[in-house]
Amino acid sequence: MPPTPQPAEGPPHVEFEGVSKSYDQRTRAVDDLDLTVRRGEFLTLLGPSGSGKTTCLMMLAGFEAPTAGTIRIEGRRINDVPPRRRGIGMVFQNYALFPHMTVGGNLAFPLEVRGLDAAERRRRVDRALELVRLEGLAGRRPGQLSGGQQQRVAIARALVFEPELVLMDEPLGALDRRLREELQYEIRRIHADLGVTVLYVNHDQNEAMVMSDRVAVFRDGRIEQAASPEALYEEPERSFVARFIGENNRLAGRVAAVHNEICDVEVDGGIVRAFRVAPCGPGDRATLSIRPERVAIAPTPGLYTNEFDARVEDITFLGDHLRLRLDVCGRSDFIVKIPNMVGHGAVIEGDRVRVGWTPTDCRVLDPDDEEETP
């Protein structure tokens, strides 16, 4: 088990303030970004390809200049500080190890630059190798290591000069699943041991959920939502986040009535009472998001505010749970997951069943542009 994410409540370490970046003077790779990373936090930038995650890291590391806005480290504006003076450890996507140097030479490089003497260099290199569990490989060349080992060297090199801030750009992207899981755990352990601040980029949501204290979901150069993995899953605030994190059923509809936190939304098969997240008023378009595991099959009549008739289209057996595809509220891809418990055999394909869910498990979000309106 990886260590449980600690609530990050330290002082601000990195601040992006109104940061934009345009490569071509027309489109913005990063668009008016505000983000605060707290000291000791493990923050993942998660988002689809091209959403501006790498650009963010590159601006922080100093390899790209922001078109607008301010980046601060410990309150100090660093827009004009050259990369080598920022003291940031960086793990590049394809490792960027120096192939003509040994592992020891790679690790000693930043120490040599800092003028440490040979004995101190050797001591720190050994400690860093120990940290990533590669003792005894100092004499090898990167080309003589496996992918996972090279990745460990890259991580060790980014840490060996004891930076307080470490950036990692999809460090595990090139590895197979087993190795990836192993290294996810290792990186978490190192983070917990050293207490460094980590900014981590990837586009694998499971990895982000497992590793992060907080996840910032990127879309088109903007942050849709930045929150703990639990909050992102349980309380998505944007329909994009609901779609991107975990599995979700989305129903498009129109707001019929609003009562404070709760509102009624008219969908294809009737009225759904739901929890209002996005600011909306009667007549507005909206997207409802319902997690598949929060839907009950054949509930006691009257137990749920929202109850609908559905037809079971198909059932997939997945070991610990069953996955039902239903036709309900005008959608034939409504997914329900039920735990594999005695009595599940009561439902078979083609059955007509009642389904139900509570208003608090059903969130009213902004209309999803990538969904068709009714």
Partner: protein, 398 residues
Amino acid sequence: MAGHSGRVRVRAASLVAPLAVFIGVTFAVPLGLMLLRSVHDPVVADAMPATLALLAEWDGQGDPGEAVYAAAAGELAAASDAGTLGQVASRVNRVQGGLRSVMVRTPRRLRDAPDGPRRAALADIDPDWTDPATWRAIRTAGERWTLRHYLHAVDLDRGAAGGVVRQPPEARIYVRLFARTFGVAGAVTALCLLLGYPIAYLIANAPAARARWLLALVLVPFWTSLLVRTTSWIVLLQTQGVVNDLLVAAGLVADGERLALVHNMTGTLVAMTHVLLPFMVLPLYSVMRGIPARQMAAAASLGAGFVHAFRRVYWPQTVPGVGAGSLLVFILAIGYYITPALVGGQSGQLISNLIAYHMQTSLNWGLAGALGGILLASVGVLYLAYDRVVGVDRMKLG
């Protein structure tokens, strides 16, 4: 099974056979013949075997004796009848100037001479025949296997006493020319590296579309005849040429003091660097393309300034390309011929121009072969040195 693999081997061999024959006929055989010629010269030995056999007993000082005179008179007459006298005479003449006319004249005059001792007859035809130096020259020219071309090629000669001595100062030309050739080749290599390294870096790190264009620009010279390129430099660099005109127009050079940029060493360096630059850029480019741009970024993120990062991270990874490019340019440069011949003038001539002279004008193929052999050997030494320092298997040519 054996029959099958045997057939495969035969088929494979028959596929490479044309290439093997081609290389043999156009490369290996001429090269071998050239090297053979530099140490082997049978003309005099075949024409005057008896004379040479007698001269072998002679101490090299004083009178060689009537028997030698008689044998020589007979063999010269025979050579004259066989039509080889001219070749024999010119070989002896190379050892000692002035003997050619003496030898060519002798058989004709001998026919009219009275019978009697041949020594008197020959002495009567030309007093040179009584000079021991003449006989020493014949003896030297008669060596079937000889290293004297190599001695000449490094400004040495065999002394009268048999030891090796330096040529008289006015005849010492080759060592200086070799030195100049290596100097020019070294300078051209350094210039190509200096100019080519940034170009290759630019191309290797440019976006794909621009890189294609830049690479094409580097290769354009290959599509133009070497002769055209070289003569264009004459047009550009001559006293009334474009470069001088621009300098005068810019007021940097007075009209009366136009610079001599061509038909001298400057012209040779400029034109050769231009012609050989692609041979430096291409191996460098191929090495640099394999170095991810991220490496320099990584070095910077680890705290290294540009100079440090370049010296420790980038440069070492380009060394195989630097080695390959330098070796290529240097080897091509020491054998360069057309360019120095056209733009080099007197002070810009290189050893290859002398080789051409001996091949085409003086017809001293033995010496030409020896000069070529020395060039070939120095290329071999360079290659071995490179292998020692960089490792040939690390060399990247493209």
